[in-house]
Symmetry: C2
Subunit: 348 residues, 2 copies
C-alpha cells in the first residue's frame, strides 16, 4: 500500500532491492509454487499435515541494541520463530519478512540478507515474500511449518509423573547480555576466558533454534515450550496451562544443580553465586519439555546422535492446595529460595 | 523473546491484554486446531488446496497519520492483506498480528480490537496469534488463505487480446487523502457534498477488499493485481511481468474516460481537471485484472449479483518495438498526455 505519507525512495528502490537481496532466498520452491514477486506466495500443502504459523517482532533498542550487526539481527529474527516451531514439534518450511527501515543503506541490507541467507540455508527454509516500509527499524518474521495431523506438541498437556527436561545448556545468552551491556563486575568477568565470553555473546546474538530435534519432540514430548522469557517463566506456562487443561493442581519440582550449564556459566555462577541468568535469563531458545519416564532414555539416545544434549531437571507432580508457587526449586536436594520466582513478570 | 532491552510492562500485561482483546477473535477454529495461547497456531489444511500467504506493514506517520483512529488502523491493516489474497483468487482463512505499541493504552487497544473484530467478522477470518512488543507504532499483519491447486491468479499471465478491467470505482481514497491532509483548494472542495467527502474519507480509512469476487477472479481472470500503488503503476506490473513471461512486448491501451468513477470523483475531476488521483492515486484496494473477451459478460453478470461493478477500461496488445511506455492512455479516443506515467516511481 502507498499513499502520500509513504516516503517514495524506498518504493522507487524496493523492487530492485528485493531482486538483489531477497529473491535468491526464494529459490528452491517447487514448480507450481510462487515466491517473491506477486501479491502473495502460493505454497504446496503436504498430505496429512497441519499448518503451524508463528510470528515474532524484533524492535531496535528493545530486542537488540542500536549497534547490533545487521547479520545478527536477521539471524535472530528468523531463529526466534524457528524456535517456536520446534517447540510445537513442527518442521519449518517458509518464512516471510516485514522489514521497516529508517533509510536505504545498501551495505546494511547486504549484511542483513547475508544473515537471512545463512539461517535459511542452515535450516532449509525459503523466503516467500514480505513488505519493505520506511520507519523505525523493526523486523517481523512470520514462519510456517508442518506437523503431522493432531501431533503438534502443546504447552498444556504435561501430566503428573512426567520428567521436566531441557535441551543443551541454559543461561548463556543472559550472561552474554551482561557482557554486551558491560554490566558485569570486573571480578566476575575475569572468571571467564576470552573464548568463553565470545561463546556467550554468540549465544545471545546468533541463537541456534532446536529445529533438529523438532521431530523428536513431536514423537516423545508430552508438552513443550521454547525458553524465550526465562526457564522458570516458560516452565510456569507449561504447569499453569496443563493444570487448567487437566483440572489438576500441578507443580514442577526442579533440582537447580541439575540444570545443564556450559563451562562459561559454571564459571559465572561460581564467581558470582548468581543463578538468575539460569532461572530467569531469557533468550535461550532451548526447549523445555516434559516426557514420560519410560520414553526419556530412547529420546535421549536419538538426541545424542543429533548432537543435542537432553537433561532431566525435575518432575511434574501434584501441588498441595495451600501451595502458592507452581515451581518448587531445590539446590542439592535442599529448598532453594529466590526472590524472583515467576521470572520477568515480577521484575517490574 | 525477552531480554534486558525489552521494557517489561508490556510483557507483564501481555497475557491479560491478549486474553481480553484478541482471544475472542480466535473463536471458531475447528476442534483439532489451536489458536492464540501456545508457541504457534496449528491449522487444518483443506484437501486439494494450496496455501497463499501475504504480509503488509503499516507504520504510523508513513501509512496513516498520527491522529488516525485505532479502529481504522486495525481495519486497514487487515484489509490491505485481504486485498492481496483476493487478487490471487484466494479465499482468506486466518491472520496473525504483530503489534508494536509505544505505550499500554487500554482504550486504544479496545478500539483497535473492535476494528479487528469488525473486519474479521465481515470476511469470516480468524486471528490465530501474534506478538506484542514495545516501540514506535507499527502493525504487521500476515494473512493466510487457500486456493484450488494451481489455480492462483498471477500478475504475469495476461495475453494479447485480453480486456483490462477494474472493480468498482477508482481514485476515491486518493481524493479522500487530499481531504484528510487539507491539500485541496477551497474551490474544488466546494464541488463535493458533505456526504461525498465522508464517503471519500471512508474509502481512505476503511477500504473494502474485494474478497467476495476472489472466486470469480480465480475462475475467469487471466491475470490480476490489487490497486495499492495506483492504477497505472499496478497495471504496469501486470504488463511488464506478463511481457517477460510470454516473451512478447505487451502493452495496455487504456481509455481514461472509461475508468469508473464515483459521483464524488466525477465532481472532483470536473472541478479540478486533475486525473492524477485516478491514475496514480493508490490505496484503492480495488482489483485490476485481465480477462478473455469471451469470458467477460458471464463474469460481469455474476459480479453484479455479488454487488460488485466490473468495468472494461482497455485492452492488452502487442507494443511496437520503438514504444517506450507500456501503457498508452487515451481520453475520448485521443492520445492523453500525462507527465507522471509510471506512478509513484516518478514522483520523487
Amino acid at each position: 500500500m502507498v499513499n502520500e505519507y509513504k516516503v517514495r525512495w524506498i518504493l522507487a528502490n524496493e523492487f530492485q532491492l528485493i531482486d538483489d537481496c531477497f529473491k535468491p532466498l526464494s529459490a528452491g520452491l517447487s514448480q507450481d509454487e510462487i515466491g517473491i514477486g506477486d501479491d502473495g506466495a502460493v505454497l504446496d500443502v503436504p498430505v496429512g499435515k497441519q499448518l503451524v504459523v508463528v510470528t515474532d517482532t524484533l524492535v531496535k533498542g528493545v530486542h537488540f541494541p542500536g549497534d547490533a550487526k545487521a547479520y545478527d539481527i536477521a539471524w535472530k529474527a528468523v531463529a526466534v520463530n524457528l524456535s517456536d516451531l520446534a517447540a510445537m514439534g513442527a518442521i519449518p518450511a517458509f518464512f516471510s519478512l516485514a522489514l521497516t527501515l529508517p533509510d536505504n543503506d545498501s551495505d546494511w541490507l547486504k549484511e542483513f540478507s547475508a544473515g537471512l541467507k545463512a539461517i535459511a540455508e542452515q535450516y532449509d527454509i525459503k523466503l516467500i515474500g514480505g513488505d519493505t516500509t520506511k520507519g523505525p527499524l523493526t523486523i517481523t518474521v512470520t514462519a510456517q511449518g508442518w506437523v503431522d495431523k493432531q501431533q503438534a506438541v502443546l504447552r498444556s498437556t504435561a501430566q503428573p509423573g512426567d520428567l521436566v527436561c531441557v535441551s543443551n545448556t541454559i543461561g548463556d545468552a543472559a550472561v552474554g547480555l551482561k557482557i554486551a551491556l558491560n554490566t558485569m563486575s570486573a571480578e566476575v568477568l575475569q572468571a571467564l576466558s576470552a573464548e568463553q565470553q565470545s561463546l556467550l555473546l554468540k549465544a545471545l546474538h546468533c541463537p541456534q533454534p532446536q529445529v533438529f530435534i523438532a521431530d523428536l519432540i513431536k514423537d516423545y514430548a508430552s508438552s513443550a515450550i521454547d525458553i524465550s522469557d526465562g526457564l522458570l517463566a516458560d516452565l510456569n506456562h507449561i504447569i499453569e496451562q496443563s493444570s487448567v487443561k487437566s483440572a489438576m493442581p500441578l507443580q514442577a519440582v526442579i533440582e537447580v544443580a541439575d540444570i545443564p550449564l556450559s563451562d562459561a556459566l559454571k564459571n559465572y555462577v561460581k564467581a558470582s553465586d548468581d543463578w538468575s541468568p539460569v532461572l530467569y535469563g531469557g533468550d535461550d531458545y532451548q526447549l523445555c519439555f516434559t516426557a514420560q519416564k519410560d520414553d526419556f532414555a530412547e529420546m535421549d539416545s536419538v538426541a545424542e546422535l543429533l548432537g543435542v544434549k537432553l537433561t532431566v531437571i525435575g518432575e511434574v507432580g501434584l501441588a498441595a492446595e495451600s501451595q502458592q508457587s507452581k515451581i518448587q526449586l531445590k539446590l542439592n536436594a535442599k529448598p532453594f529460595q529466590v526472590d524472583k520466582v515467576g521470572g520477568y513478570l515480577h521484575f517490574s
